[in-house]
């Protein structure tokens, strides 16, 4: 109860739609049982679930911690953007972290790292790189038989959630992050900032009203990182790890996926025009170089070009 009375420092907005089991694991990864060096009163997790025939539901969500708040919404459009803006509007923390995809679980230092970065620079942008569980990107693996069962086997293999950093051992960098840790890349599933910065940005753009929000997340990330006086901290040794759940771009078969991509791309071009390059911002790296991240650090170093 006490944790609900005190204002948390960070409000994490987690969007859930048709992925109850994955979201439950993500919520576990956000709980104090799994996160290092933080207390429940330091942060809150705002779950916003758009209605579907496969609901996570309040009971399962709230069971993950005393700092979880659950909202069930009816949504008329096939997009998470309204759910995100709603979640942010009820946040009580001085800072916000947006997780657009509830199927992405995180490593144990994400929250502490974000709080460290905001102590360092209250108006910073903070993110963690994205990964896919499995030995290939899931949009490729799905064509080769990858499914929830295979993934469950991988998670058993690393005894998840015993040591959350072992997720690195069974994952690959997301396509949008394959440029590594020394550049901003395209997006993140953990995008954090001050609430003031969020208001300045006007939240996520509600015009992204198509499947999965289309490029709303990329647009938010780019606008945040390129906004003035916003140093960008990358929690390079943490990550968010996508679980397979039949999502729009990560879990459908090739032909269908390409059709959807085209549709989303057309809408993005309509909204943003032709300048959709990744943010040209160099990250400040923050985090412990634990053994599981080193092979990705080495990969990232091969992607650096002379400035």
């Amino acid at each position: 109860m006490l944790s609900l009375l005190r204002r948390p420092k960070l409000s994490i907005v987690l969007i859930v739609y048709k992925m109850p089991d994955q979201a439950e694991r993500t919520l576990h990864s956000l709980s104090v049982r799994y996160q290092h060096g933080v207390r429940e009163s330091d942060y809150e997790v705002i779950v916003v679930e758009n209605h579907s025939d496969r609901l996570l539901g309040a009971a399962r969500a709230l069971a993950q911690g005393g700092n979880v708040r659950y909202h069930h919404r009816q949504e008329t459009e096939r997009t998470p953007v309204h759910a995100i803006n709603f979640g942010a509007s009820v946040a009580r923390g001085s800072h916000l972290a947006i997780m657009i995809d509830g199927a992405r679980m995180v490593t144990p230092g994400v929250i502490r790292g974000a709080l460290d970065a905001f102590r360092l620079e209250p108006h910073a942008a903070v993110s963690a790189p994205g990964y896919h569980i499995g030995h290939k990107l899931q949009q490729v693996a799905v064509n080769e038989g990858y499914n929830e069962e295979v993934e469950a086997g991988l998670l058993r293999q690393i005894n998840w959630p015993e040591n959350g950093y072992r997720l690195f051992d069974i994952a690959v960098l997301s396509g949008s992050c394959r440029g590594g840790f020394f550049q901003a890349n395209y997006e993140s599933n953990f995008i954090a900032m001050s609430r003031r910065k969020w208001r300045q940005l006007g939240g996520v753009n509600p015009r992204y009203n198509d499947f999965g929000g289309g490029n709303a997340n990329l647009d938010l990330y780019k606008r945040l990182l390129e906004s003035p006086d916003t140093p960008f901290y990358l929690l390079y040794s943490e990550g968010s790890f996508h679980q397979f759940h039949g999502g729009v771009t990560t879990g459908t078969l090739k032909e269908e996926r390409e059709r959807v991509y085209k549709q989303l791309d057309d809408q993005d071009r309509e909204i943003r025009g032709d300048d959709r390059s990744p943010p040209s911002v160099r990250p400040i790296l923050l985090g412990s170089p634990h053994p599981h991240v080193l092979r990705f650090l080495e990969h990232s170093l091969t992607q650096v070009r002379p400035q």
């Binding site: 102590r119 020394f182 412990s288």
Partner: protein, 336 residues
Amino acid sequence: MSEQRQPLLSIIVIAYDMQRQALNTLRSLACDYQQDVDAADYEVIVVENRSARTLDAQAIAALPGNFRYFLRDEPGVSPAAAINFAFAQARGRYIGLLIDGARMVTPGVIRHTLMAFRMNEQALVAVPGFHLGEHDQQFHLTNGYSEASEIGLLQSVDWPRNGYGLFDVACWSPGNARGALQPFMECNCLFASAECFREIGQADERFQCPGGGMLNLDIYRRLAMLPATQLVVLAGEGSFHQLHGGVTTSESGRREQILQRQQEEYLAIRGQPYHSPTLEPLLLGQFKWPATRFLERSAEWAQKRFQRFANDGRDPFADERIKRESLQTQGHVADH
């Protein structure tokens, strides 16, 4: 006007008989070389033990920033008393210690150090060390390295205009010979709060070997092992040693003897042999291209070390556990 405001950070630079090198070091600490800093945020306290080649006070005064120069007569051969004299002058809440004035630094050192302290008052900020030249300077004679070749190297990378160019003409320092991600044996550019320095009793003046012997290692380990400090490594920055005829950083036939005497002194003072603090570092930095080749090597070496420790069933950060236990004990005492 900036002198009227109390600086956040006091950087102590100790010099002895290294006129050209120390002036380069001070140049690298000036506010027009250090990036994104407010000159009023820090002061540089230069303490020089008198020699035949003392620094030019006017040249120091001409550097942009807050430099305070003290020339003192030192009867001994250790810098310990000079360091404690410098502590007495320091006004900052945080202290930087460059025990060897011949180590110049890269332009992001002060900015990142202040960042680390904003994050954690108890940060122990360590900047990795390098030697100018292709080889460790303790073998400079064998490798035909001289002050003249060093001056040429600095010109070749357009230093001081190009501060990060130092990485292009340097190699690892023996104090962190296995890279920036493994435990350091010592650190020649380190920062902690004045409070932490007071807690360890600043420089222990029983270290009386030439150059202080293992004094610098002792200071590093004792700060690192304070229960509440958090080791922050600025892996994208560096301190770069210039050749100056130092006790252990230049080639000498008596090197083994010197090291043995230093170890004996350490053992006599601390009652046990020295070992590097094995603590999990937090990395903080914005990496410039020239620094990345060193990070690449560091990552390779760190992987091997982790593998070795895993194979042997050993904890790679054993001292971290000792610190946690003493924190708990302290908490326990405080609770009662």
